[in-house]
């Protein structure tokens, strides 16, 4: 909101919109005159942000008409990545894309068309609907890195992920690998307020973060050792008399098996693995088990640990059950799906995808939890109790690294087309050098984006997408919450930008899906989703204006009424679902993907411990580097290193340093800080340089400081259940960038 803008002039309309620069979707009031947004501010009446906006939220008007935005459909006319484009109409783009997809489908089957997504800032039930009707099972996101392994493991063992935290009635919360102080401002505000009223905050994080600095207890563990910590906490709770026997007797099966399983996972065992003391491990277990009710807030950290992720998530989930911190007042609640509205899963047309095509989903032969084999089994259980299933988009996806490999190797079959929406895979998926190679090779690529990202630059078509303020938003936590937050678009999309919904719908219509897309606008579709709530309104915008959100009354002890959505109807401490899929029914200990104990030879060459992927203000993932009013805060990429370690390598503050793993190297500048332990390197994610030319071969320096050059997606480094790959718990080496050695990223 600029002070030179008169907000009292005539003809201004205030729209109830939202921020769209991360998935918090903070409420925004947009002042609109003559079809233009002239000012914005945080919506003081919105339940999450209560008027607040972070750095990103404040720059909405710098983003909406930024000179680098893509405003018209672009068709490649030069070589791939050469940067030569022709502006064409949407009609031409869609009909040419449809023709090419038809050709590929006829020649190679629908499964030869895949789609890559990013975070939940799109209407991806529409993407799934399109893909299902088209006949391809190969949609994917970075879902693996962000909550979905957690969601599916928790749903497997207790019938839904208990992500609805009743913090207002709680006494202690564990923020496990989560830093809301940099990534979830509304949550941080609520935590701060509750802390003043007595809530105790425990932060488990290798890094002294914005949030750790405010915590009542901080557990600075070794990166990637969460599995050992969670198992040892289970051991302490079970063997030191802290378990909630009554809750377990009433609600759980498999307690004896679990107790036997964790007998050897003592704090003495875990201390050297986690770099914590036995006392610290006992303390955190005791605090959580005895200050009831309590919460465990999921962070994406565990999802990003590759091979060790499944065991860590599984063990963490069981902590709730053995302490009775589940489904009870003040604890972690099972919201279940929205029973009042039509869910995203119900919009996806999953029933239209044949079993034959489902079986072709890439990765589903090895990683069964988040693909059709595991999803079908879990969805069958949830349908029996809730009547509904988790969203298939996000929870049931092709394995991204395997799709990129399929493009390169033709195995298990050839993937010829990639439809990219709202993601820049070069920077956000694992093992970037392989991803880049795949994007260079794929026969046909279409990218829907705001900007000419390195990925867009390699595309055959780039389509201009409507952003914050130009699109309505229904916030539903990936379609898996029982509540709805609703925001309207402030203005119609500028230039020839369109919603991602319209891209999928219009492309579907070109491909003969017309009768399956009855909603002209995304608002029409939202209205359809909301109708069963019974507000009796004519349009979605009316709902936003009069109600803005829909919160069903919170119900405690739901399981006493309906049981848990598992085969036994109980919380399965010994999981029959995981066992049936061929996995361990109990959480196995797995060490960090690369570590000095299991891989001593590797540790000689790569002696430092690496963690990547942490969020940091003011950027979100690989976005917003174009916005000067944010970039001035963080002009260049930095990694964190303890001064003691830096001294060993003669590294000074601000030195450019190469960081190298078995996959390759990239460079960032040194931030000498006590916030990390000696021997630990923590890099910033996302970096590329839009101020450079985004053309081959440099593509905006997309590998140069890109932390995903370092991450591992090898099958053996991925979690066997979910297939999530390894961003954290890796080994690296570092050396200073020299004058003769400063170019390139690998």
């Amino acid at each position: 909101m600029n002070r030179n803008v008169d907000l009292e002039q005539e003809g201004i309309e205030i729209k109830k919109s939202c921020c769209y620069f991360c998935h918090e979707n903070c409420g925004v009031l947009a002042y609109v005159k003559d079809g233009k947004v002239i000012a914005i501010e945080g919506d003081p009446e919105f339940p999450t942000n209560a008027g607040g906006l972070c750095c990103r939220g404040n720059i909405a008007l710098k983003h909406i008409d930024h000179p680098a935005r893509i405003n018209y459909p672009q068709k490649r006319v030069g070589k791939k990545g050469e940067g030569k484009w022709e502006t064409i109409s949407w009609d031409q783009a869609l009909s040419e894309i449809a023709a090419k997809l038809t050709q590929i489908k006829d020649e190679s089957g629908a499964e030869a068309v895949a789609t890559a997504g990013g975070t939940a800032r799109t209407d991806d039930w529409a993407r799934r609907r399109f893909m299902n009707l088209f006949g391809s099972p190969n949609g994917f996101h970075n879902a693996h890195l962000c909550w979905m392994p957690t969601f599916m493991i928790e749903t497997a063992i207790c019938g839904w992920s208990p992500f609805d935290l009743d913090m207002g009635n709680s006494r202690v919360i564990i923020l496990w690998g989560q830093n809301p102080g940099a990534s979830g401002m509304p949550a941080m505000h609520h935590l701060t307020e509750l802390q003043r009223k007595g809530l105790k905050i425990v932060v488990i994080d290798p890094r002294y973060t914005e949030t750790a600095a405010k915590a009542d207890l901080w557990l600075p563990l070794r990166p990637g050792s969460d599995c050992a910590l969670a198992l040892a906490m289970l051991h302490v709770i079970i063997y030191e008399g802290l378990a909630d026997d009554a809750f377990i007797a009433e609600n759980c099966v498999g307690y004896e098996e679990l107790a036997t399983h964790v007998a050897d996972f003592s704090p003495e065992w875990a201390a050297p693995l986690t770099w914590l003391t036995e006392e610290q491990i006992r303390e955190v277990a005791t605090i959580y088990a005895t200050n009831k009710p309590g919460n465990i807030q999921w962070g994406t950290t565990l999802d990003q640990q590759g091979r060790t992720a499944g065991g860590a998530i599984h063990a963490r989930a069981l902590l709730r059950a053995v302490t009775g911190n589940l489904d009870r007042i003040g604890s972690d609640l099972l919201s279940g799906p929205s029973l009042d509205s039509i869910t995203e899963e119900e919009m996806e047309c999953n029933e239209y995808l044949t079993d034959e095509q489902k079986a072709k989903q890439i990765g589903s032969d090895r990683f069964k939890l988040m693909t059709w084999p595991g999803y079908s089994k879990i969805a069958e259980n949830t349908r029996k109790v809730w009547g509904k299933a988790p969203t298939a988009e996000w929870m049931c996806e092709a394995h991204p690294p395997s799709v990129f490999n399929a493009i390169l190797t033709g195995k298990p079959y050839s993937v010829r087309a990639l439809l990219v929406s709202a993601t820049n895979p070069v920077n956000s998926y694992g093992n970037s050098k392989v991803v880049l190679e795949a994007l260079r090779k794929v026969e046909f690529m279409v990218t829907c984006d705001y900007w000419m990202t390195p990925t867009a630059a390699l595309s055959d078509y780039v389509l201009p997408i409507a952003g914050a303020l130009e699109r309505p938003t229904m916030t539903t936590v990936y379609g898996c919450a029982d509540f709805i937050l609703a925001s309207q678009r402030a203005i119609q999309p500028m230039y020839e930008r369109r919603n991602d919904y319209n891209f999928w719908k219009d492309l579907g219509i070109q491909l003969g899906q017309k009768e399956m897309w009855p909603w002209e606008t995304v608002e029409d579709a939202y209205h359809y989703k909301l109708e069963p709530c019974g507000y009796g309104l004519d349009t979605y915008d009316e709902f936003v204006e009069f109600y803005r959100f829909h919160f069903p009354e919170r119900e405690y002890n739901k399981s006493q009424r309906q049981g848990f959505a598992t085969p036994s109807g109980k919380i399965e401490l010994y999981s029959s679902v995981l066992k049936d899929l061929g996995y361990s029914p109990l959480p196995e200990y797995v060490g960090p993907v690369e570590n000095e104990i299991d891989h001593p030879e590797l540790a000689k060459e790569y002696p430092l411990v690496l963690s990547t992927g942490n969020g940091f203000m003011p950027f979100h993932h690989s976005e917003q580097f174009q916005i000067k009013d944010l970039r001035y805060l963080r002009h260049e990429p930095y990694f964190q290193i303890n001064p003691v370690t830096a001294a060993e390598y003669s590294i000074k503050e601000d030195d450019w340093v190469w960081i190298e793993t078995q996959r390759g190297r990239m460079k960032q500048k040194a931030d000498l800080t006590q916030a990390v332990a000696p021997r630990v390197i923590i890099t910033q994610r996302g970096w590329w340089f839009p101020e450079r030319e985004v053309v081959e071969p440099d593509l905006g320096g997309c590998l140069e400081s890109n932390t995903n050059v370092l991450t591992s997606t090898r099958d053996e480094d991925c979690d066997p259940m979910s297939g999530t790959w390894a961003n954290r718990g890796l080994l690296c080496k570092i050396y200073k960038v020299t004058a003769t050695d400063e170019k390139g990223g690998n």
Partner: protein, 184 residues
């Protein structure tokens, strides 16, 4: 007449810089100018025994104003409600005020040739609203109000908590107050 003041509760501040960006956008500032930087102290100590504090800075809207007193043209002024501001048309960019301000709160605009600074967003305050940085703060670490109003939150905080003024011994009597926690 009101006497406007701001309380900054550093116990809540997480150093996210939302306030600086909100201010920059509201005041349409060039990239090299900033009214309200957030300085981070730390982490101090040795891992894992650490402390960290964030101190947002801005014009202190002093009662005793070296900037106003030294201004040769009368551009720098203090209103009756305590807001210190610069009348741009009278500023010749001599930077005397920049040099005398003990808080470093004044910055030169090289494009305009004038000096600028925080004025508590009086464009908003005069219409009954609150400064942009205050509204934007998720953490509610900035509290703005009338110190003459005994029911106001700023009155309660200034008189009920250990609210301190920066460089208090200079006698400038700032109307920006800071509350520190143990971690500070």
């Amino acid at each position: 007449m009101a006497r406007y003041a701001m309380v900054i509760d550093t116990r809540s501040c997480i150093g996210c810089h939302s306030c600086t960006v909100a201010c920059r956008v509201h005041n349409n500032l060039p990239v090299d100018m900033i009214y309200n930087p957030v300085t981070t102290v730390g982490p101090t100590g040795v891992y894992p025994n650490l402390h960290m504090a964030h101190i947002p800075l801005l014009c202190m809207h002093c009662e005793q104003t070296p900037c106003v007193n030294s201004c040769p043209t009368g551009a720098s002024q203090r209103r009756e409600d305590g807001i210190v501001w610069i009348e741009e048309s009278k500023c010749v960019g001599c930077k005397t005020c920049v040099m005398v301000c003990p808080y470093g709160a004044r910055v030169s605009n090289h494009e305009k040739g004038t000096v600028q600074k925080c004025d508590f967003c009086f464009d908003r305050v005069d219409k009954g609203s609150i400064p942009r940085c205050v509204q934007s703060c998720h953490q509610k670490a900035r509290i703005f109000g009338d110190l003459d109003d005994e029911t106001s939150e700023v009155f309660k905080l200034v008189n009920g908590e250990h609210a301190v003024r920066l460089l208090d011994d200079l006698g400038t009597e700032p109307y920006v107050f800071y509350i520190y926690g143990l971690e500070g």
